[in-house]
Assembly symmetry: C2
Homo-oligomer: 298 residues x 2
């Protein structure tokens, strides 16, 4: 017998995922940023994701409720963006201690609604229940043309690795609460036809790039100097909650040109996909795994 604390969140998920089974209309099950399902007759696929934010883990108890709502929905829209999809429907389960001020609950919804409205998403349901800590559980769906979802498993040897913005210090700077999910960017990347693999960075560049490597059966070298940083290189690699998009592309110059035309910013190349399956190198040195483990002792 072992507990979540002993084996950690990722090992627990590895035990659960094989139990989940398959379905003829399920294209991509659990393990990417979203699940992808067929919508027969529509020419579209539908993506599904969920994410919780929990008091004293994802935000502090005294945080501004509008920012809590913004972050909660932002994480889900970021997952949808990381498939190249447009957000569609949002449902919200709130768990709250009885002491929560109704005024603060309304502000949380205001934060959620403002961000949904910006990207054409609608909150259509949910639940409100009593519990020991404040939690928001957000469920989201999105749409994209059939078979066009950008997956973690699409990277090929020789692809360049790119990232949509600076990484690190998201907790210190408050970006983890205020970030704008890269929805327009994700759709642009899908429409460009120039991207092989895409995901969002929630656990840190080093950890999340490793997901692409594992699911694509490739390796990578990172150029430490080229990584756009909000602080140190270490912070850029490991802090997490950046909610930037991480991608691989076989023809980065064409993609970067189109990106600059569209968004007026630079899309930096930070490394290259190699044939060294599962090996991540930083400036030549092998970089060992270091994940944020929800259940491991601090």
């Amino acid at each position: 017998m072992s507990t979540l604390r002993e084996i950690g969140e990722h090992a627990a998920l590895r035990k659960i995922l094989p139990l989940l089974g398959t379905h003829p209309e399920l294209r991509i099950g659990a393990g990417d940023d979203c699940a992808v399902c067929r919508l027969p007759g529509t020419g579209a696929d539908q993506v599904f994701t969920t994410d919780p934010v929990i008091e004293n883990i994802h935000f502090q108890s005294l945080e501004n409720p509008m920012r809590i709502g913004h972050k909660a929905v932002g994480r889900v829209l970021s997952d949808i963006a990381a498939m190249g999809a447009r957000p569609q429907w949002i449902l919200v389960n709130v768990v709250a201690p009885p002491e929560l001020e109704i005024h603060d609950l309304e502000k949380m919804y205001k934060g959620m609604m403002d961000l949904c409205n910006r990207f054409g998403a609608s909150v259509i349901g949910g639940d409100l229940a009593r519990g020991p800590a404040l939690e928001l559980h957000i469920f989201g769906t999105g749409l994209l043309p059939e078979k066009s979802a950008l997956l973690r498993s699409g990277a090929n040897e020789g692809d360049s690795i790119l990232v949509t913005g600076p990484l690190g210090c998201s907790f210190e700077s408050g970006k983890h609460l205020d970030f704008i999910p890269r929805v327009d960017e994700g759709c642009f990347l899908r429409e460009s036809g120039l991207v092989n693999a895409l995901m969002d960075i929630s656990d840190g560049l080093a950890t999340d790039l490793r997901h692409i490597l594992q699911q694509s059966g490739v390796g990578a070298v990172l150029d430490g100097q080229a990584v756009p940083k909000a602080g140190t290189l270490k912070q850029a690699l490991f802090d997490g909650e950046d909610f930037e998009l991480l991608l691989t592309a076989p023809d980065p110059e064409e993609l970067r040109f189109q990106w600059q035309e569209k968004f007026g910013t630079v899309l930096p190349v930070i490394g290259r996909v190699t044939a060294e399956t599962g090996i991540l190198r930083l400036d030549g040195q092998v970089l060992e795994a270091k994940a944020f483990e929800h259940f491991s002792p601090e």
Copy 2:
């Protein structure tokens, strides 16, 4: 300023719902058992719902994990059944204390999967996070022919009121953990074309029937003797967590005949819809509102 404890869950929801906005492809927003959305080009509508189960509120800490998983998914499938829809996709957020045994987590998923498999639903994603109490947040979708969803707002004066099974004592008997959601029955009721309003009973017959009355702009008289009971009449009216279906039908005899042919059981008539808007009578006497309020003091 007031808190959730002071105003209660239902009053809090009444403040939140008007914030939610609309969407051209949203047929029915928050307020019914599920939201209903168009799926253009398919001839189908898609329904969406979420429900949490929380330790020491919806189940006891030492409960069998398979039953916790069963109940969590069962509640969502019951909401989908209450629209007359077929379940489709399920996503699961688990919040768990670090002390949770992995073996128990696996059993919880086993309970969820067994019930999903029975009704053709698939678990396609979710999340696992640390928190102070064990919680399962289940998000579910379903499908049904467009414009065929059975709503709380469909009851008409003169309709008979019927219920699919005995009510009350669900906590004492363990039915609240073991119930089989009325998915086949919900689809049959929709296909019959003989039902005006449908919902599932989670908060107790008296409370839930009141939702139909409010949303349909009608009243009702209940025949206490005709209500099928697992205990006393009071328990049948107020206990809740029965997860039977409550419906109104203009031609109950034809419906009861078809039901008996299909399921081999009796579908009892327990009352009649009246023109006394918002008034619920039991054997002639007005029955005052008494809802289970998550946040009100016990």
